[in-house]
């Protein structure tokens, strides 16, 4: 089991109050593709960040088990975590505009990721970077390697991010809303690319998004989160048979091209979802 999470809880505390944002989540993942879907504030990003121990210092984490490939993340030292972060598990963030270094050219950023984890000379690293850029289907990798993040489009920037994350051959890829800053057309391309690479390299994938139908196209399993809990977990192919009213509501409230409706059904939130 690559990732094993049992009863994960994350709370934020200050002097006067305590807020539990993640309330007892259990998930496990092998070399497969798992989608985590939920609204903003449902705790999906926090869960992924907890796995990499990337939470702010005022967050209190507790779990019966939180392990990455057998390593206990909660007990791991910062040094051990650095062996996991980036090297064994890559993290793709939402907006390439903010997650790439604006004053470093793309070739250097990708080769830096490669060199940090694999060593080798600068020249070797640059060649490897160009090869990686080619793998994420950038047509003119040599040219792109010489350009700066502001000179490339959003979709291209996200490909660069993916190339960077693939550099150390990780076993797990976590993609946190990798396409919500992108166009519909580019969105599909990027997700297809991620899916292809993950299957090719036999990696695990955690894909975080708020778009349930979209995620189901690229994942094997989907976990639906609501208010800090997983309320339903099901196979992506069985999404239409979802039982929980929240999952159904999420599927139902999207406008559709093929099934026009005068009014969109709005989610009626039930207090029992919080505890059920």
């Amino acid at each position: 089991m690559l990732v094993d999470i049992q009863n994960l809880r994350i709370a934020f505390e200050n002097r006067s109050s305590r807020f539990e944002a993640v309330r007892g989540i259990s998930l496990s993942l092998g070399a497969e593709k798992l989608g985590i879907v939920g609204e903003s504030g449902s705790g999906k990003s926090l869960t992924a960040r907890a796995l990499m121990k990337l939470l702010p210092s005022n967050a209190a984490i507790s779990a019966d088990r939180l392990s990455f490939d057998g390593i206990d993340v909660l007990a791991a030292s910062e040094k051990q975590m650095r062996q996991i972060r980036g090297k064994r598990a890559g993290f793709i963030l939402q907006d390439p505009k903010y997650s790439l270094n604006p004053v470093m050219n793309i070739g250097r950023q990708v080769s830096e990721a490669w060199r940090t984890h694999k060593g080798g000379s600068k020249k070797q690293a640059l060649e490897a970077a160009i090869h990686l850029l080619d793998q994420v289907k950038i047509r003119n990798p040599r040219e792109v390697a010489g350009s700066y993040p502001h000179e490339v489009s959003g979709g291209m920037g996200q490909r660069v991010m993916i190339a960077m994350m693939l550099a150390p051959d990780p076993e797990l890829l976590i993609a946190d809303e990798p396409t919500s800053a992108l166009d519909a057309t580019v969105q599909a391309e990027i997700l297809r690319l991620i899916e292809e690479l993950v299957s090719e390299r036999n990696m695990g994938l955690i894909l975080i998004s708020h778009d349930l139908p979209l995620v189901s196209h690229f994942c094997d399993r989907v976990a639906v989160m609501y208010s800090g809990r997983v309320i339903e977990e099901l196979k992506a192919s069985e999404l239409l048979n979802a039982r929980h009213p929240y999952t159904k509501g999420l599927l139902n409230c999207m406008p559709s091209l093929t099934h026009p409706r005068d009014r969109l059904p709005v989610l009626k939130r039930d207090a029992s979802w919080l505890t059920a």
């Binding site: 609204e39 903003s40 489009s153 959003g154 992108l182 166009d183 519909a184 057309t185 580019v186 599909a188 708020h210 778009d211 349930l212 139908p213 979209l214 189901s216 196209h217 992506a236 192919s237 999404l239 239409l240 509501g249 999420l250 599927l251 409230c253 999207m254 406008p255 559709s256 091209l257 093929t258 026009p260 409706r261 005068d262 009014r263 969109l264 059904p265 709005v266 989610l267």
Partner: protein
């Protein structure tokens, strides 16, 4: 109500909108779709008077818009922006945000107008003295819509009003927009890259590609796939393929 003829916009040497024409009747909605960089938001900004370097003709209610818009223009045409996190002043309360426009235009009964605007967008009156950071994304977008409505406009220019929101909140905002259109006989121009959102709210759709409007068709034709330009067909196929769960 709205006529745009041969609109051209250039930034420096680069022409980003290359002769776009369309017209919208009163009470109708026109949607503009296209990829980033196709010029769709640029058209909207020029119409709102946020960009003064354009050529061609933009007319609201038969009256050609001047390069420098007179103050009265903004009573009739208002814009709602994409990101409610960026478009509200972080250090001003909702009350202050909503009273800005009536103060500038010397309107009376500001207090009553704010109460009315808040209830129009289904926000509790308690939201009035909150700061934007104390509201959720959907509530903020409601404030942005209330700010546009307080001018009692005839035209709303909507630039991706729901793309920064969760799908569940998106449904609420889209319902709100169609209710408001009906109640006040508003005319909308909606820019989005989401075909389903456009088709839900608009009767007519224009498709942008590289600064040109390559096709105009009715939402009905778009739904059934009666498209003529290859780019429209491509956008539609993609959207239909992804909206159904696998």
């Amino acid at each position: 109500m709205i006529d745009v003829e041969n609109l051209r916009i250039r930034f420096g040497d680069r022409e980003v909108v290359k002769g776009v024409s369309f017209s919208v009747k009163k009470g109708d909605s026109f949607g503009i779709v296209g990829e980033s960089g196709s010029g769709k938001s640029t058209i909207l900004r020029a119409m709102a008077g946020l960009n003064e370097s354009w050529e061609g003709r933009i007319a609201f209610g038969g009256e050609p818009a001047q390069l420098k818009r007179p103050p009265g223009f903004f009573r009739r045409v208002q814009m709602v922006f994409q990101d409610p996190y960026g478009s509200l002043h972080p250090r001003q309360t909702v009350d202050r945000i909503l009273s800005e426009l009536p103060l500038v235009h010397g309107m009376d009964n500001i207090d009553k107008r704010i109460v009315q605007a808040l209830s129009d967008v289904a926000l509790p009156q308690a939201a009035r003295f909150r700061f934007p950071h104390q509201l959720s994304g959907g509530q903020r977008q409601r404030v942005a819509i209330a700010r546009a409505l307080i001018a009692d406009p005839q035209v709303l220019l909507l630039d991706e009003p729901t793309s920064a929101l969760d799908v569940s909140v998106q449904a609420e905002i889209l319902n709100l927009l169609s209710d408001l259109r009906e109640a006040r006989n508003l005319t909308y121009i909606l820019v989005s890259h989401n075909l389903a959102v456009i088709a839900h709210l608009c009767g007519q759709v224009g498709v942008m590609l590289n600064g040109e409007m390559v096709e105009q068709l009715s939402a009905q034709d778009l739904r059934v796939g009666k498209t003529s330009h290859a780019h429209t067909t491509e956008l539609r196929t993609l959207s239909v393929g992804l909206e159904e769960p696998a």
